[in-house]
């Protein structure tokens, strides 16, 4: 299982999907020119590597901010994970800065829309 690692840029997030280490994370900020194109490799990786989640896994979202087209892709990501979780074990850890009320409520929003263990944490 090859890891998917994308370095963060000023407008797009860092991505870590590493089954061997059991690390799953999206960080930095997400406002790419084409969010659909940016997130597509993440979805195809998940499609191919569902088995990775047979052991208990935590998917971390540590975003400073994201645009509304990325919001839609994040929802899609959670739907993928929700489907994977039917036969596996996935939890979401949503990180937010203690002063960032918006990021906190965004996490709350997703936690209500998605049937997955969803924890909000400070960073």
């Amino acid at each position: 299982m090859e890891a998917l690692l994308i370095n963060a840029k000023e407008d797009s997030p860092g991505v870590i999907l590493d089954a061997q280490k059991g690390e799953y994370e999206i960080n930095h900020r997400s406002l790419p020119e084409d969010a659909v194109a940016f997130y597509a490799p993440i979805f195809s990786w998940l499609e191919k590597n569902k088995d990775a989640f047979s052991k208990r896994s935590i998917f971390k979202i540590k975003l400073e901010y994201y645009n509304t087209t990325s919001a839609k892709q994040l929802y899609k990501l959670f739907c993928y994970l929700q489907e994977i979780a039917v036969n596996n074990s996935v939890e979401i850890h949503w990180y937010y800065h203690p002063d960032d009320k918006d990021m906190h409520s965004a996490g709350e929003r997703y936690s209500k829309l998605i049937q997955l263990p969803f924890t909000l944490l400070n960073y």
């Binding site: 000023e10 406002l31 929802y75 929003r109």
Partner: protein, 379 residues
């Protein structure tokens, strides 16, 4: 809430600037960070239109000199009136660039400055060269390190005479406008081109609009992802550390949504190549930002857009939140040009209704202006 007719100045400005393929104005405090981002915004745009490197170098040189003139020679403002803030303008028309600086100077410096400028303007390229050496040898340094060498070099590099004007402010201060026109072929002929008074007037009236509307930053041209990043970089660098994190983040969010809205949805009347022309502006106060964008859209899209805007403005935050969720969960369609998430997000983050105006242009097009206000308050 209905349309806001006070926003009609945005289309006026757009029309006023439409002779230029690029117009960029900044008014306020100049710092090294800001100067860097101004330069990189120009660089990004020159790269996109694929300017010859000789022209890029010239434009860059003139910009650096102009920005240095502003930071070096601006006199402190004693009456604290915002109207006397320094300013920087770059405009592109065909393959010519007009670079204008504006700053306050002491009236007793006006005469020596005029003398220098007229001297430079009286010389042909050959005599400029020898005058440059002469000044260099004499070491005629002013107390701030400017020897007039900068002016000579600007005339030589631009290949054009230097345009200037003074606007007396009071008995002690005058506002100094200074403009260079940079042409690709400039400097190769035996004489320097004549000054175009209308180009300096255009810059001055651009400045006047900016003053009347209390704007700090205006960018008009083709919008894309690259220049959005530069605008963000500039705004973030300029924000006061005193402002709360949430306020700063919300401003970034709104800028992203507005500019991405232009480069994804602006329609263009001319030539058919995929350009996304628009105008974007910021009015900045310590604890309040007003961010405005304007662009052409197809007239056929007006009813659907108006409906979206009215739905957003007529919904309270819990209803907006529901609407946001339903759009978030809706199937993605390739032809779905903006679900309206951006509009909802801007109202939720700014805590204000979206001010907007849609003006008919002709049978095919309308002009869409949207304005978002945001305050730094603790919620």
């Amino acid at each position: 809430m209905k349309e806001n007719s006070e926003l009609s100045f945005v289309y006026q400005l757009y029309t006023h600037l439409s002779a230029f393929s690029l117009s960029y104005i900044y008014k306020g405090d100049f710092s090294d960070h800001l100067n860097e981002t101004i330069l990189s915004l120009a660089e990004t745009n020159m790269q996109i239109v694929n300017e010859p490197s000789a022209l890029k170098k010239k434009v860059f040189f003139i910009m650096v000199e102009s920005l240095q003139n502003i930071t070096r020679h601006t006199e402190a403002v004693d009456d604290l009136s915002n109207d006397n803030s320094s300013l920087f303008i770059i405009q592109r028309k065909a393959q010519d660039y007009y670079i204008t600086s504006g700053n306050l100077i002491d009236v007793d410096k006006v005469e020596p400055l005029v003398h220098k400028l007229e001297k430079v303007n009286s010389l042909d390229p050959e005599s400029l060269k020898s005058y440059y050496r002469e000044v260099l040898d004499m070491g005629e340094l002013s107390n701030k390190g400017g020897a007039g060498l900068g002016l000579i070099e600007m005339a030589r590099k631009s290949g054009n005479k230097l345009a200037f004007a003074f606007n007396p402010i009071n008995t002690k201060k005058s506002f100094f406008y200074f403009q260079s026109k940079v042409t690709l072929s400039g400097g190769k002929d035996n004489t320097l081109d004549h000054i175009e008074p209308e180009a300096l007037d255009a810059a001055k009236s651009f400045h006047q609009i900016v003053l009347n509307k209390n704007l700090n930053f205006v960018f008009q041209g083709d919008f894309n992802h690259e220049n959005m990043k530069t605008v963000l970089n500039m705004t973030e660098g300029n924000m006061s550390r005193d402002n709360q994190l949430l306020f700063r983040k919300r401003i970034v969010n709104i800028i992203v949504e507005l500019i991405q809205n232009i480069y994804k949805h602006a329609n263009t009347t001319l030539d058919g190549n995929e350009k996304h022309k628009g105008v974007f502006m910021i009015e900045r106060h310590e604890e309040r930002y007003i961010i405005t964008s304007g662009n052409l859209i197809y007239a056929s899209r007006v009813p659907a857009l108006t409906e979206k805007l009215e739905r957003v403005n007529n919904s309270d935050s819990s209803k907006l939140s529901e609407l946001f969720n339903s759009l978030l969960m809706a199937e993605e369609r390739v032809d779905q040009r903006g679900a309206g998430l951006g509009l909802i997000d801007m109202k939720l983050k700014s805590k204000h209704n979206l001010s907007y105006l849609i003006q008919p242009v002709d049978a095919d097009f309308a002009f869409f202006t949207v304005q978002v206000k945001i305050e730094d308050i603790a919620n």
